[in-house]
Every structure is written in structure tokens, then in C-alpha cells.
């Protein structure tokens, strides 16, 4: 029973081979523009280091920050039509009203508001107007937009209008992708609509990326199922992630924190994950990433996903160092995956944080001769600035005076000093591939999302029935029964249905067998 965990970051692609709790191998490889090359290289080397063949592997788990990065960097986003079914309500704050201009521009910023939507009790605000929808379809078609996000008022209570509008538009817009807000979000129209629009703008990239993963694994000879990790540390199937790429948001920090907890055996700690471009600082509380409480910004866009509370700073192995003295500037720009061609120690012409680490003897790679001419006082000043940035970030995430350890993980964690803000730093074994380990230990989930009648049973009984159903699903999907825990539950009373109906959404998670 061998598992492979893969982490596709902006700079590096890491892979680990695990057997039960044992890590047999862990390797890093540069991420390639096509994603595929990096995955093939990392997985091939991880298999050969572990001395096993591809046919012995039972599952591959992939974590990727590809989609989050696309939003943060405003790259590869498809032009998207936002359709809100609401009129005459909700005109005061139109779709994307509070988005930063650059990301609004990247997705085209085009929206339509149409008649439709429901009241809280299921009554229609107004009926769908098919002629109006046909007109909107014609405009979307004429604009050449191929991805549409549909959001209807109170769609978590009734998704019928979203579905009917999709069917109507699909007839007139063949080949267009649709995202329905009711499938990815909860109550709170602005946040749910934001998530739906971002998801729609990522659909094309998701198709390409998931396809690249499949081809890469096929090329290495892996025929077992593969999964992609979600923001809550659970696994999604290939088909699911193609339709809902937005659910991978923040899976990177989740994987690195869960990986760090697993590798160090610590359950309460601050985790500092230094990558090539950014450093994510998060907190582990009783073995789980501390969740952000209410709303979370992704690339400046407000969402209500459940995500780990992470503070990110522009510091990594590829971070560009400019100026000196008063003009010294460390980041946030990075050479990213071009580190191995642009850094001084690799024969390039850009001074990076990695060059500084090599120059100070903290790391040993590349050509040391290339940095022999640098002023040692300058290197020390740069390192002092880096330490200060890390201390500030750790202090920000630290919420108790308890002397909990700092777990330094990620390829760039050579930059982390032995103490940060007075806290001892632990570098667990395999620290540089903690993300891939976190992916490999991705959890199996069981979900229930359906309507229960409270006519003949209490709400408590309905919740425990739903929990049992979700638990059975998780076990059937391969979770260890004694490891199953409740992750999330929510119930929305549906006043419009007879029989005291309520919609229960509930999710349990457990460790994968084997």
C-alpha cells in the first residue's frame, strides 16, 4: 500500500512516497510552465528514490496553489459573465461592486441583473422572464464570453431559478460553462456570488490543469485513482475539481500545516512555510489549522469559504533583493520558478534571498564563486531585514503568550533563524516537502446535503441521522471508522415547504485506510 503526495507550487513541484506513516522518499523539482513536466520529473524521482514501481501505488493526492495563484496574480482568468437573478431587488450593490479594479478587469467585469430570485420563504421576488434571458444570452454570445456564473437571491433555499436560467441560456449558448452559486456557497449573496464568478473564471484553466495532471501520471505509468486536495484538507475527485476549482483555494496552507503537524508530532505551533515567492504563516491548534473566522479575502475579493487563517508575506527563496542601506528592498517581487536560471549562484544576474543564504553559509547550493564579491555587511543587513519580516508575521499569528514552537517548513525555510520572536524553531525531517506530505495524508470526507422533514422527528434526531449518513459515506469511500470527526454542519430552515422542512449540510472527515 504505497501513496504518493504531490504539491504543485508556483516555484517547486514536490513529491513524496509514503507507506502507512513512513515517508520513503521526498524530492523537489522546479514547476514547469506546462505543470506536467514538473510533476513527471518529481514523481519519477520519488518512485526511484523509494525503489518501488508505479504499479505498486494505490493512490495519488495532488495539492496545488495553481488556482489561488491565478487569482492573486490575475493570470489565466477567463472572461466571465456574472448573471444575478434578483430584480427589482439588489440593484444597489451590483455584482463585483467591491472587487479591486485589476481583477475585475481580468475577468472582464461584465454583469447582467435580471428578474428572478426568491424570498426567504421560497416565494418568487419576480418570475423569470425568458425573453429577458434570451436577450442576455445574445449579448453574452456576442461578447464571446464562454463562462457564466449564475447567482439567484436565496438560492441556498431554492436553486430552481438558477437551474432554469442555466437551461435556458445553455440552449442558446452551446459549449459555454456554467457555475451555479447554490452549488458552492452558503447564505450571503455577495460572498457566494464572488465565489461563483471566480469559479467560472477558473473553469478553463481547471480543465487544462487537471488534464495535465492526468497526462503526467499516465506518462509515469500510474494507473491508480488520483485526487486533488480541497481547502479543508479533504480530497476531491478529478471530475469534481474540473467543475469547482475554487474549492482548492487555500489548500496549500492547509497541506503545509497538516504536513508540519504530522512530521513534527506537535499539535500546537506556529507554522512558517517559506516557498519560492511567499511565506505563509499559520497556527496549529490541537493538530488542525486554525480557521479564519468569518470572511476571507482571496486576491482582494471577499468570500465566505472556511479557510485556515493565514498571513502571507512576499518573502521566499526567489525573493529579489534591491538597493542597500536606506534604499534596501526585500521583495515582494520574486524570480519564482526561474530561480535556477536567474539567481546569482545559478549563473543569473539577480540577487535573491537564496544567494544571501548561500553567502552567509546558511545553505550550500549552486556556485558560491558567483557571490564571492558581495559585501558581507550587506548580506548581514539583508538577513536582519528578513528576520524582522518573519518576526512580525509570527507575532501577528501568535495569540497567546505560551511558548509554543515555530515549525519551519518549505524549500525556503533555510531563511528562518533558530529563534523567531523568542520562540524556538523546529525543522522537522522532510521539512522541505511538508506540503506534499500534507497532500498525501489528505482526508476522506462524507457529505450530506439534503432536505429533512422535522414533522415526525426532532432537529437533533435529523442532525444525528445526517451525521450517520455522512459517516457511512466516508467509510464507504475508504475512511478509517475510528478517525471520523465532524468538520462542518449547517441547517437552513425552508419555511416554504410543508412539514417543517430544513436543509442540512454536514461534512465529516477521516483518515484514509492503508
Amino acid at each position: 500500500m504505497f501513496r504518493i503526495g504531490v504539491d504543485v507550487g508556483g516555484t517547486n513541484t514536490d513529491a513524496v512516497v509514503m507507506q502507512g506513516d513512513a515517508i520513503l522518499s521526498g524530492v523537489k523539482s522546479p514547476t514547469t510552465e506546462d505543470v506536467m513536466g514538473g510533476v513527471v520529473d518529481a514523481v519519477e524521482r520519488a518512485l526511484s528514490d523509494a525503489a518501488i514501481t508505479a504499479d505498486a501505488v494505490t493512490a495519488v493526492m495532488i495539492g496545488t496553489t495553481h488556482f489561488t495563484n491565478a487569482v492573486v496574480e490575475r493570470r489565466h482568468l477567463a472572461r466571465t459573465a456574472a448573471l444575478r437573478l434578483c430584480l427589482p431587488a439588489a440593484q444597489c450593490l451590483p455584482p463585483m461592486v467591491d472587487w479591486p479594479d485589476d481583477i475585475k478587469g481580468a475577468v472582464g467585469g461584465q454583469f447582467w441583473m435580471a428578474k428572478g430570485g426568491n424570498e426567504f420563504d421560497g416565494r418568487a421576488i419576480s418570475s423569470l422572464d425568458m425573453a429577458e434571458l434570451d436577450g442576455i444570452a445574445a449579448e453574452i454570445g456576442a461578447a464571446g464570453i464562454t463562462s457564466v456564473a449564475i447567482t439567484s437571491v436565496f438560492s441556498p433555499v431554492s436553486d430552481e431559478m438558477e437551474r432554469t436560467a442555466m437551461a435556458r441560456l445553455a440552449e442558446r449558448l452551446p459549449g459555454v460553462d456554467f457555475t451555479l452559486s447554490s452549488e458552492i456557497g452558503r447564505l450571503g449573496i455577495l460572498e457566494r456570488e464572488n465565489a461563483a464568478i471566480m469559479n467560472a473564471s477558473l473553469r478553463a484553466l481547471s480543465e487544462r490543469t487537471v488534464d495535465a495532471f492526468g497526462r503526467a501520471l499516465h506518462k509515469v505509468g500510474l494507473t491508480c485513482p488520483y485526487y486533488i486536495t480541497q481547502n479543508d484538507g479533504t480530497l476531491m475527485s478529478r471530475e469534481f475539481v474540473q467543475s469547482y476549482p475554487v474549492l482548492t483555494f487555500a489548500s496549500g496552507p492547509t497541506n503545509s500545516m497538516r504536513g508540519a503537524a504530522f512530521l513534527s508530532g506537535k499539535s500546537d505551533a506556529i507554522v512558517v512555510d517559506v516557498g519560492g515567492t511567499t511565506t505563509d504563516v499559520g497556527a496549529l491548534v490541537k493538530g488542525f489549522p486554525r480557521p479564519a473566522s468569518t470572511t476571507v479575502d482571496v486576491g482582494g475579493v471577499r468570500t465566505n469559504f472556511r479557510m485556515p487563517d493565514v498571513f502571507a508575506i512576499g518573502l521566499g527563496g526567489g525573493t529579489i533583493v534591491q538597493g542597500d542601506g536606506e534604499t534596501l528592498k526585500v521583495g515582494p517581487q520574486s524570480v519564482g520558478y526561474r530561480l535556477t536560471t536567474e539567481a546569482l549562484v545559478f549563473g543569473g544576474a539577480t540577487l535573491t534571498a537564496s544567494d544571501v543564504a548561500v553567502g552567509l553559509g546558511l545553505a550550500d547550493f549552486g556556485d558560491k564563486g558567483a557571490i564571492a564579491g558581495l559585501n558581507p555587511a550587506h548580506l548581514t543587513a539583508v538577513k536582519a531585514r528578513i528576520d524582522e519580516m518573519l518576526t512580525n508575521a509570527v507575532e501577528r499569528m501568535r495569540v497567546s503568550p505560551d511558548p509554543i514552537p515555530v515549525l519551519a517548513v518549505g524549500g525556503g525555510s533555510i531563511l528562518v533563524p533558530d529563534h523567531v520572536g523568542g520562540l524556538p524553531v523546529i525543522r522537522p525531517d522532510h521539512f522541505s516537502v511538508a506540503n506534499a506530505v500534507g497532500a498525501a495524508i489528505g482526508q476522506i470526507s462524507g457529505e450530506v446535503d439534503r432536505i429533512f422533514s422535522l414533522e415526525s422527528k426532532s432537529r437533533e434526531d435529523a442532525l444525528s441521522e445526517a451525521r450517520q449518513e455522512a459517516t457511512d459515506k466516508a467509510i464507504a469511500a475508504g475512511a478509517k471508522p475510528d478517525s471520523i470527526e465532524l468538520l462542518d454542519q449547517e441547517d437552513v430552515p425552508l419555511a416554504y415547504l410543508p412539514g417543517n422542512a430544513t436543509r442540512i449540510r454536514l461534512k465529516v472527515v477521516g483518515e484514509m485506510n492503508g
Binding site: A90, G117, E119, D491
Partner: protein, 365 residues
Amino acid sequence: MDKITQITRADMVDAALGGAFLGTGGGGDPYIGRLMAEQAIDASGPVPVIDVDSLDDDALIVPVAMMGAPTVMLEKLPRGDEAIGTLRSLEAVLGRKADAVFCIEAGGLNSTIPIAVAATAGLPIVDGDGMGRAFPELQMVSMTMFDVHACPMAMADEKGNALVLNAVDNLSTEKFARAITVEMGGAGLIALYPMSGAQAKRAILRGSLSLIVSIGRIIRREQAANRNPAERLAADLGGMRLFEGRVTDVDRRTEGGFARGRATFEGLDSYQGQTFTLQFQNEFLMAETEDGTARAMTPDLICLLDLETGEPITTEQMAYGYRVIIFGLPCDPKWRSNHGLQLVGPGYFGYATEYQPIEDLNKSD
């Protein structure tokens, strides 16, 4: 606490934060109100904030507000011109223009909607409110204690339905208006309690807008210094920490035009092993330990803060797993009078218990 003299776009972050805090879980999503007020200020400029004493005794002051279940406003956003429409229709009934706008409550959406209306109407807003917090029903204002009538009252929804109500007293106004908001889809915009300057000088709670903005500033300043704002808020406002824990259950219903329910918490750190419950009707009304001992009750303020950031959490945001501080604050002394307790005490909400001040319930032995 500094008196403010105007509200600019930049002040809206603090106004929304402070409004969420005094909203005691209710009053709606202040983020939506903030966006609406920012749009209005962008279009029409900052809003002057005036002391009630600067108004002539015969000036006309009109509160505007959202009425209904806050959960509804999270989904069904306003069309945009309903609130100013209610002000205009009340002016038409009274046959004169308003001289200033007013907040009926110092919480959530209703502390920000009047700012948007004042900006659009080009009117100043009075530094004060009718509750010193948020309450679920419209007769629960200090004006009721001073015989100011809620009617004539104007109501409007996004579909264009507009009504003017004349009920015999403020409780009847609440009952009729509530039934109408349910028909309007659970929420509507209202303008009511038209007051003269002389009435307002007697009947309102003063300084509420300044208080809201300064609470918002405290929360942001403490967050910037990586401290939980609870300590500072307790020290500056005379409040106290009642419990720390995580949400294990939220039982929520939208009924009779309100969001009602109960939330259960299990203790963390020094509260490990204990459970705690909050009951709400739009706002948090009753805080109890597991054996049913009350630790705070209406009209004292019960606020929910994020355990890590100190950000206020509303009843509709509250969800399984959130880690929170339950924070209590004494109410304005006007509410502790007999008349005040008749309006907003535990008895009015159907709790069998006599009102006990939060200070007495949490005496250290």
C-alpha cells in the same frame, strides 16, 4: 471618547465595525450598510454630524431604518432608493422637509443606512440613537419612554410597494409593521418617529455615533497591535468577558419576521469542560451557563467576538466551529427604569426571570 463632527468614506470602516459590536449580534450585516454608505458618500460627499442641542426646538428630525430579519438582508439586498423614498413620503405627509436624519438604533445595518440616506439627501445626522445598541422591535426605543409617537410611519420595499401607517401606539405600530415586512419578503425600509428638536433633546440617547466610531477605532488599533480588543473594550466601556469557546450548534429559524434561535458553545482554555448558551431574536438576549444560571440578559448588551481577532460576529454569521469570546456590557441606565424594563426586559421576551444587572450576575466573590 472623541466627538466626531463628520463621517467621511474613511470613517465607514470604523462605523461598520463599531456598529457590528453594538449590534449585539443583530442589526444586519454592517458590511452591506458600509458599502451602501460608501457609495452615497462617494456620490454626495461626507455627512456632517451634529449635536442635538445645535438644532432649533422646531426642527424636524426623521429616523430611517431597515426593519425585518437580518438574514433576509444578507441575501435580498435593497433596490437602493427605498430608504430615501420613505423619507420623502413621510415629508409629504408632514408637509415639510426634514432638517436632520437620525439612527433608530446604534447597531449593524441601521447605524449605516441613515448615513447613506443623509449623504444622498444632503442632510446632517444627529449624534445619538434610540437604543444605545440594537433591539429587535421598533417600540424599543428611548423615544417611547418620552411619549414620542412612531407614527406616521412610511414603509417601502424593493418592488415599489409603499405604505403610510397610522397606528394608535408604538406597540401597535410594531405589530402592524411587522406583519407588513413579512409580506414584503421579510424586510422593508422605514422612516418613523418624526420628532421636533425639543422632543429629541429630551428623548434620545446621546453621542452614539461618536461611540460607534471610537469602538471601531479601538478594535482596529488593538488588532494592529496583535492584541485581542476584548481587554481594551472591557476597560474603556466597563464591560466583561463572560465565556470563551467554540460554536457547537446553531439552531436558527426565520419566523414572525425575526431570526430566532439558540446557539451552544463548548468552553476552551480556562472554560474547558463548560458549556454556554445564547438565545437570540435578531439580537442576543440571554446568556446562560449549562445549569441555566443567567450571566447576562436583555437590556444589557451581549456581544460575540472572534476569539483571535476580536472582530464582532453577527447571529447570521455564527457557524459551527467558530472560536469566540462572549462579551457583556451594561446598557444605558434609561433602560433599567421600570418603563425601560417593561419595554425591553426579559419579561417582554417571554423569559420567566426577573431582570438582574450584568454587574450583579458577575460579581467576583
